[in-house]
Symmetry: C2
Subunit: 332 residues, 2 copies
């Protein structure tokens, strides 16, 4: 079934049918409805490449994330996909594997019009955002979510890292912790610095001393991170509470505690930002600050579609923050 046979079936000219399918103002709505009804009846599919070429719209959005084997990005993709399906968009997925060069290469691929817009969560090692600026200046709408950069003025969707950091730290204080350590994943990423600033704010509000040797940046591999945690837990004045900025660092802490014979929660209380349903099944179950990952995905996609479809001005930068939630379990 092509456009020509569709026109023959309708006894209309090729050009009329083509214009009707493109919703041209030259064609009456009665004719348009007739054409659409017949196209549906005969299962005629508009060639998306031809039609995209004409309109320069691809109905495709790109999602660029650091990794996928992760408790956070799974539900994010679910949220994005639910909006994409509602609005008729296709979703391309790219992984940077926490590598800035890969992130730049993906942006270069996308410069040439393959997608209508991009949702990005920055790689851990992205120190320069020139590639984002270049693309944005070419008029391709860009949304940053979760891991954002302050160097760039675009719409963002995040969780309340600062407030969540305060909640996590004050929960440990309420449970009697006097020496609380913070495990971050990066010195620059907003998800890490925001949570750390919340931690520092909570210490200040509760007149507790800040000690720089209790603020650990775990940006190495698993082996290196565990070594840092081991040193922390073997130190003379070892912490009695740990606030891990991400779940994997809480798991590393569990492993180091098992190794050193430390009991959680008696010797050490642990809390982490986490979305995993398995957090509840760890031994002991892990107290968590739960990010609304699914809602963040939906919000990021909805914001991007609004930009793509020009329902909002590109100069309008929306900063959406979605609330996290404390879930108390046995590790505290």
């Amino acid at each position: 079934m092509n456009l020509k046979t569709l026109a023959q079936e309708l006894n209309l000219s090729f050009s009329t049918v083509s214009k009707a399918l493109r919703d041209s103002h030259e064609i009456s709505s009665i004719t348009k409805n007739r054409v659409i009804a017949k196209a549906n009846e005969l299962n005629y599919q508009v060639n998306p490449l031809a039609s995209s070429f004409r309109k320069q719209k691809t109905k495709t959005i790109a999602l660029i994330i650091p990794e996928i084997v992760n408790d956070f990005f799974g539900p994010v993709i679910n949220g994005i996909e639910s909006i994409a399906q509602e609005k008729g968009y296709h979703v391309l997925v790219y992984l940077t594997h926490e590598c800035m060069q890969k992130e730049i290469a993906i942006f270069k691929l996308l410069q040439s019009g393959r997608v209508d817009g991009i949702m990005l969560s920055l790689s851990e090692r992205t120190s320069d955002t020139t590639h984002l600026k270049e693309l944005n200046e070419r008029g391709v709408p860009l949304i940053l979510f979760d891991r954002i950069s302050d160097q760039l003025d675009v719409s963002t969707v995040t969780t309340d890292n600062f407030a969540g950091g305060i909640t996590a730290t004050e929960h440990l204080i309420e449970r009697g912790c006097k020496r609380i350590a913070f495990l971050g994943i990066s010195k620059t990423l907003s998800v890490s610095t925001g949570r750390m600033n919340g931690y520092l704010e909570a210490l200040k509000r509760n007149s507790m001393e800040r000690r720089d040797n209790r603020i650990i940046c775990c940006d190495g591999d698993d082996w290196e991170n565990k070594k840092l945690i081991r040193n922390l837990l073997k130190s003379k004045d070892r912490p009695d509470g740990i606030f891990a900025s991400v779940e994997t660092l809480a798991i590393s802490t569990y492993e180091v505690c098992a190794e050193l014979g430390l009991n959680i929660p008696n010797d050490l209380k642990v809390i982490a930002f986490s979305n995993s349903y398995l957090a509840a099944l760890l031994n002991p179950s892990l107290t968590a600050i739960r990010q609304p990952a699914y809602e963040m995905g939906r919000e990021a996609a909805a914001t991007l579609v609004n930009l793509v479809e020009k329902r909002v001005c590109p100069c309008h930068h929306q900063k959406t923050e979605i609330k996290s939630k404390l879930i108390v379990r046995n590790s505290t």
Copy 2:
């Protein structure tokens, strides 16, 4: 930078540059190399829509999976993406949420030439594969992986469900289990029936009786599945070993055991197909048959790209089976 300015820079005609970039046989390789070098130097990007329209190739492949918040499909996507990046393909991701109607709708969307090929893992509820046949007859290459259908003659990539089922069951027998139950997820899906057939084969080889009330099909929601497991574990002749076809059913079993005061592994031994790194952190840690999810993703993508690029004949249906591995932990 467009094609016209590129031609001016090279002092060549528009048509020569255009043909050179399309790798036309009319242009000498010396000229082609000159054009490509200059295009790279000037950061000239071919418009993919224009170029795809011409060649009717999109350099895009679709991945259709039942769900993403899952320990299996995460590493699968990682594997697919690694091949896509090597071969210069883009990956569209679609979720069926285990719904056949959604699967059909996605196939309808893809009929019209948006992608060069499709990788599919069937939804739990797909009872009819007409939509797959229709698309395949239109000449769009299709690969089934993990959850395949015997009704369709296409290339497949699976793990050794039958052999893994035997290994799992014989491991429970070696550990002294006399009354082993099997928890499946579907009466028709190959991943469930293959593992069940392995279970039955192991019982036969070890002269153990098959009891139909120990073969449970958990295809409901979490609440319904737990009810089935609870009934099984409260029965007079309750099993002393459970082989769960997927990790989530092992977790439900853990929860029901906690509720009923049954100790794993003393009262009940548990083994499951699982890829999650958290299986090791459960209490007790879960003995698993580990599927090579990443390798399956790579193999599925590589097989599809070979079909798309016509390096193999579409009539050649390759059935790839990748070996699983027993990882013994404390639950047995």
